[in-house]
């Protein structure tokens, strides 16, 4: 193939530019693998993939702030491993598989020692092998689909209660209240389907109640009359909505308008201050399965925590602020125990943690790397706010 004069010149220029610039960074010829997280000096980097754009962006901010608060506190107390500071790097996953993979790669490239992010289960799943390949332990604060631990990757730890534990809490409450018939509704996302499937399994195994309906809706619509009709025709004692608050508010409102008089319970994805606003008066008395939030915790510690969050960020903490805060603290604890930032050592340290104090209770991991106790409680909406109803203990 003969190149014309101009073509050769172009190619020459392009090659020259590329070769010159390759001298100063991590190209294939640049030698030196600078992407490993186990450098021995300088700040220890913690990475977080969280949605800071897209429709889940507000949660991303809650997570980021919660983690930052823990980082600041630990740094103020002198850091870990002989005074090394922590540094939090947040990358936007936008709740989208492709963007989350890009974000995870970005974090791995910048040499994070531990990942403390992960919100949408669907977007977190494809990031697992990336962190695994780079030998980076993941402490996942929010995403809690069973699929995350099904692959048996050594580096994956969930510190949010799993769908299974949430279902157990739901079942316990159903038995306590004596609901005989239950309708399960999800929105066909992996997170919410996980809970309905698991709840149905557990209810059927237990036999105390009967699942009369297990159905799905499509997120993003306004009219849910089809599912409302379905529910009304079965007239269950309890409707358990396991998806997010945006549609949850609509479903609750339309159920009440259709004259539904039974109880309604929502899962943790719907525990958001917006839910009562969207559903209006219909949301009074709605129950929720949720891990402890700072608002529902009693005692001075929780109040102090909320106050310091407020002074740091000028806003109230929200869903998953506490879990992200805890994820950073757990990471720091594990690094301290491991004595270095090598992935394998941190993983060993994480597996050995027993009784570390978190918002959801003392921490100990099961062999599957999920929480040994989910720490789920039952909340109830009173005057448009979620308050503690039953701590199930």
């Amino acid at each position: 193939m003969k190149f014309g004069k101009r073509g050769t010149a172009l190619l020459g220029i392009a090659t020259a530019v590329l070769l010159v610039s390759s001298g100063c960074s991590g190209g294939l010829l640049g030698g030196g693998n600078d992407s490993s997280g186990s450098s021995d000096t300088g700040p220890i980097k913690l990475g977080m993939v969280a949605p800071t754009s897209g429709s889940s962006a507000p949660t991303g901010v809650y997570m980021k702030n919660g983690a930052q608060l823990a980082v600041d506190e630990i740094n103020k107390a002198g850091g870990i491993l002989d005074g090394r500071k922590l540094e939090l790097i947040v990358a936007d996953g936008a709740c989208d598989a492709q963007q989350a993979v890009a974000a995870a790669n970005k974090l791995v490239s910048s040499g994070v020692a531990v990942s403390v992010g992960g919100y949408c289960s669907g977007a977190t799943l494809p990031t697992l092998p990336i962190f695994a390949k780079a030998d980076v332990p993941m402490i996942i604060p929010a995403a809690n689909s069973q699929d995350l631990v099904k692959q048996g990757l050594k580096n994956v730890f969930l510190i949010n209660g799993t769908g299974m534990q949430q279902s157990t809490a739901a079942l316990e409450f159903i038995k306590k209240q004596g609901y005989a018939t239950v309708a399960l509704v999800d929105d066909n996302t992996s997170y919410s389907k996980d809970i309905t499937t698991e709840t149905q399994k557990q209810i059927e195994a237990d036999g105390a109640a009967k699942v009369v309906l297990n159905t799905s809706v499509t997120a993003g619509e306004s009219d849910y009359s089809a599912v409302v009709r379905d529910i009304m025709s079965k007239n269950p004692a309890l409707v358990y909505w396991t998806a997010y608050y945006q549609e949850g508010g609509l479903v609750i409102n339309q159920l009440k308008q259709a004259g539904y008089s039974g109880a309604i319970m929502v899962a943790d994805g719907s525990v958001d201050p917006s839910l009562p606003k969207i559903a209006g008066a219909a949301s009074e008395g709605v129950f929720a399965t949720m891990t402890q939030t700072p608002e529902t915790l009693e005692g001075a510690d929780a109040a102090k925590w909320i106050a310091s969050y407020k002074t740091a960020f000028g806003a109230d903490p929200g869903p998953y602020s506490t879990q992200s805060y805890d994820a950073v603290r757990v990471a720091a604890e594990a690094i301290k125990k491991a004595g270095n930032t090598k992935g394998a050592d941190i993983i060993k340290a994480l597996e050995g943690i027993d009784g570390f104090k978190m918002f959801s209770g003392p921490l100990k991991f099961t062999p599957e790397h999920t929480l040994s106790s989910g720490g789920f409680v039952i909340l109830e909406i009173k005057d448009g706010k979620f308050v503690l109803k039953d701590s199930l203990s």
């Binding site: 070769l19 890009a102 977007a123 692959q151 066909n188």
Partner: protein
């Protein structure tokens, strides 16, 4: 309904392009230069992040070059193009996971499925007027995604994960980021070249005829329905192979990756690059897929800017920012061909 060409006059001869920029852009070796840059890029930066971004960009180029066949060459607006990528990705993922095969062996299945998908979507709709076609393809795109989300064979809402790698022979694992990047670049270059060559083929000329004036094309003996269907099938195959690369790149396939927004982004790359002009489309695709990585902070305004850009581009340059030159080489008597127009082997035109 003539758009690019003033058909009342004889085709204008190609003179030397005037400005320096267009001289560079019209250089016949540009394709090779771009290929060389793509090959050399990992020598500049080879962090997992940059490799990931570059691989994603290459896959996006693949999609754009496929949609360019449908929209750019044939003038059919497809607003659900991502559905073909979904078909390819899901087929590859399901087949390889069920039979524990490396992804590369799923290619025959992907080929069959995407051709089928092209036929199923194209056959009933291509008789329709072009604007109906646009909305029907949009509907098909949504149907594909919702179906994938509701069925259990496609893994439901979580999709398929743990997709096996492309191929592993001894120590050579094609899934290694650097190697995978090169594989992607090679495959994509091949497809881009093929689609560029298609443009000059007999079929390519028929497509452009249909685009410029369907009735005239019909009158001249072109079986417009068949020709349009072929454009659709070619586009589907391109998208399907993009899907295979996508599945092996992410090692997971989930329905959220195939929303309308993605179709719109591919369309944007084709339109902004210049409908029908392969080089422009490649540049457009690279810009569209790299911009968000460079401008993370402005993500709120990104789509707003894209939308406005589409309107502005169409109002001021309805044929695309850098359209294909809408005329045929003038052949006076078979011997006298302007040297600038001589088809050059291997160069992407």
């Amino acid at each position: 309904m003539s758009e690019n060409v003033d058909t009342t006059r004889a085709p204008r001869k190609v003179g030397a392009p005037s400005s320096a920029l267009s001289r560079i852009l019209e250089n016949k070796h540009l394709g090779w230069v771009a290929f060389a840059i793509a090959l050399l890029a990992p020598f500049v930066t080879a962090t997992p992040y940059s490799l990931n971004v570059m691989t994603t960009a290459a896959i996006f180029v693949m999609l754009a070059s496929g949609l360019n066949i449908v929209v750019g060459y044939c003038g059919l607006l497809d607003l659900g193009y991502i559905a073909f990528m979904a078909v390819g990705a899901y087929t590859a993922g399901i087949v390889s996971r069920t039979f524990q095969l490396p992804l590369i062996f799923t290619i025959p299945a992907v080929l069959v499925m995407t051709v089928l998908a092209g036929l199923i979507i194209g056959a009933p709709t291509l008789r329709l007027r072009s604007d109906y076609l646009a909305i029907v393809t949009l509907g098909f795109g949504e149907i594909t995604r919702i179906t994938a989300n509701n069925l259990s064979i496609t893994g439901g809402p979580s999709g398929i994960f743990g997709v096996p790698g492309l191929l592993q022979i001894g120590d050579l694992d094609l899934q290694q980021p650097v190697i995978f990047y090169y594989v992607t670049v090679l495959v994509v270059s091949g497809f881009v070249l093929a689609s560029a060559r298609l443009r000059g083929s007999r079929l390519g000329r028929a497509w452009r005829f249909v685009r410029e004036d369907e009735d005239a094309a019909e009158a001249m003996g072109i079986h417009t329905y068949k020709v349009k269907l072929l454009a659709y099938i070619f586009g589907a195959v391109w998208g399907g192979f993009g899907g295979v690369l996508f599945a092996s790149h992410l090692s997971a396939v989930s329905p959220q990756s195939f929303v309308f927004l993605q179709s719109a982004l591919v369309l944007m790359a084709v339109v902004l690059g210049g409908m029908g002009n392969m080089r422009g489309v490649v540049i457009g695709a690279i810009v569209i897929s790299l911009l968000p990585e460079l401008l993370r902070e402005f993500s709120v305004y990104r789509y707003l800017a894209f939308g406005l850009l589409l309107v502005v581009a169409m109002v001021f340059r309805p044929q695309g920012l850098w359209p294909a030159r809408g005329f045929e080489p003038e052949r006076v008597d078979g011997t006298k061909i302007d040297p600038a127009l001589k088809p050059t082997k291997g160069s992407a035109r």
